[in-house]
């Protein structure tokens, strides 16, 4: 009996040792896969001041960027660097492993002037390329409304470190998308007039309530004309964390449409987001 138990213990010990030997562990980690519905990227970014009597940090800063692919070809995300943070909203051509994007960047940058440090709120367009794990981004000019004259450019390189976008629980994540995609074909407006009807969806994905500013901004381009901007009273004051709201829009003429929203979340963070530039196809 004792011999039998000894033999069983030996066999179990040998099997356990074999199972735990380095030779049976996974030989190498699974490679990061990109090309799905988003990704988390780490890299570096540099800013260059183009104008204005402010100073900004122009040394290389660490970049953490998360991108999510939304309805059809819309891409949204958020980023953080040493002295800036912001959101991006735009459209993707191709896919997340082999494509390019054109996004609106809404950014808050720390800038200094005469010993005073300011949080400057800027806006610009950025284009980028996604190639395998690599991401590059170029923003030619970012202008800051509340820091007059300040304009910067930026250049970023990053590598995908996870296929799962990062969601910060510390602040609200407000995402603006256009149902059906950012290219709208000709259809019929509510009054039966021919036009370009589309629905804009606002969703909060981090579970944090957002209180909107009293107005939101719409920028439109009709035909060959320039961009016309208008500010409308925000018809609802808040969006609860984890919920979504929609509104319907219809333009009788072809062109582009983009909406900008701002507010403050329940944790006191300033929130600024935009819809992608909606193309009202001729």
């Amino acid at each position: 009996m004792r011999n039998t138990l000894t033999r069983i213990a030996f066999v179990v010990t040998a099997a356990a040792a074999a199972a735990c030997s380095p030779g049976t562990l996974p030989g190498s980690p699974s490679p990061i896969l990109v090309g799905g519905a988003g990704g988390k990227y780490n890299g570096s970014i540099t800013y260059r001041r183009l104008g204005g009597n402010y100073t900004i940090t122009e040394a290389v800063q660490q970049l953490k960027l998360s991108l999510t692919l939304r309805d059809v070809n819309q891409i949204t995300g958020s980023f953080q660097t040493g002295e800036s943070s912001g959101t991006v909203q735009g459209v993707l051509t191709g896919d997340m492993s082999n494509g390019s994007f054109d996004v609106t960047v809404l950014i808050v940058t720390t800038a200094r002037q005469g010993g005073t440090t300011s949080s400057c709120e800027g806006r610009g367009q950025a284009t980028g390329i996604l190639s395998g794990l690599n991401l590059t981004w170029t923003a030619g000019s970012i202008a800051y409304d509340n820091c007059p004259g300040l304009r910067v450019s930026s250049q970023a390189d990053a590598i995908a470190v996870s296929p799962i976008p990062d969601v910060s629980p510390a602040q609200a994540s407000l995402v603006i998308t256009v149902l059906g995609g950012a290219t709208v074909p000709r259809g019929t407006c509510a009054a039966g007039v021919a036009g370009y009807p589309f629905t804009v969806e606002m969703s909060e994905t981090a579970g944090v309530n957002v209180t909107f500013d009293s107005r939101f901004r719409i920028e439109e381009r009709h035909g060959a004309g320039g961009v016309s901007a208008s500010e409308l009273d925000m018809p609802f004051g808040t969006i609860n964390g984890g919920t979504r709201r929609t509104y319907a829009t219809c333009s009788p003429v072809a062109g582009t449409y983009q909406a900008f929203f701002s507010g403050t979340d329940a944790r006191g963070n300033r929130i600024r987001v935009a819809s992608p530039v909606v193309t009202l196809a001729p």
Partner: protein, 219 residues
């Protein structure tokens, strides 16, 4: 329209026709009350200022249900739950701080509580002529569509109070009230039917039909 006048005339004849005396409830008694108004409406823009609106065209039916205390041949007072529905044709042009939001009622209503008192000042047989006064408060509920009309139109589906919120004011509750000229008659021993018309905040109504059924002991 002719049919409506004929129906009102027939109802008036029925109310004013002499009736045999029946048992009465002379001591104040509790009872149940209800009512229906086929349409109340806010005419013109006379209440526009109250809601910071450029234009108000709101109408809809009203239902009431509650308790009442009174006598069969005297006055009465009561408290009722009131429900005023806004028809889908109801529109309000709300003046915001920057724009005008045109609001169309999709599924909007006012739900509230109102106390009323009927004061009879004349009696012809079993018909009482008097005034019905009331006041209370109602909550704005349901959803509306708010539209910014421009080259590009923008439509929001909103909770009813939010639509008024573009004025910068939060309005969840509004006062309600009534001041109506009324005629009431006893049908049977306990049922009192009243026809009235007049002011019905936030509008007016041409006709409203009410009933009260007293539960007390006959004498």
């Amino acid at each position: 329209m002719t049919n409506r006048y004929v129906a009102l005339l027939a109802l008036a004849c029925a109310l004013l026709a002499p009736m045999p005396a029946a048992a009465q409830i002379d001591d104040p008694s509790w009872g149940i009350a209800g009512g229906f108004s086929p349409q109340w409406a806010v005419p013109g823009d006379w209440l526009a200022g109250l809601f910071d609106a450029q234009r108000i065209d709101v109408k809809g039916p009203e239902f009431r249900l509650g308790i009442v205390r009174g006598t069969t041949l005297g006055g009465e007072w009561g408290v009722s739950l009131i429900h005023k529905r806004l028809s889908k044709e109801s529109t309000v042009a709300v003046t915001g701080t920057n724009d005008v939001l045109t609001v169309v009622a999709n599924d909007a209503e006012m739900l509230g509580v109102e106390a009323h008192r009927f004061f009879p000042f004349a009696r012809v047989n079993k018909v009482q002529i008097g005034v019905n006064l009331g006041g209370g408060i109602a909550q704005l509920r349901g959803f509306v569509t708010g539209t910014y009309v421009g080259t590009t139109s923008t439509n929001f589906t909103l909770p009813f109070p939010d639509a008024i919120g573009v004025t910068g004011r939060k309005v969840d509750w509004i006062p309600v009230g009534r001041a109506e000229l009324a005629a009431a008659t006893l049908v049977g021993e306990r049922l009192k039917v009243r026809v009235s018309g007049g002011f019905n905040m936030p509008g007016f109504q041409v006709v409203s039909l009410s009933f009260s059924y007293l539960l007390g002991q006959d004498k």
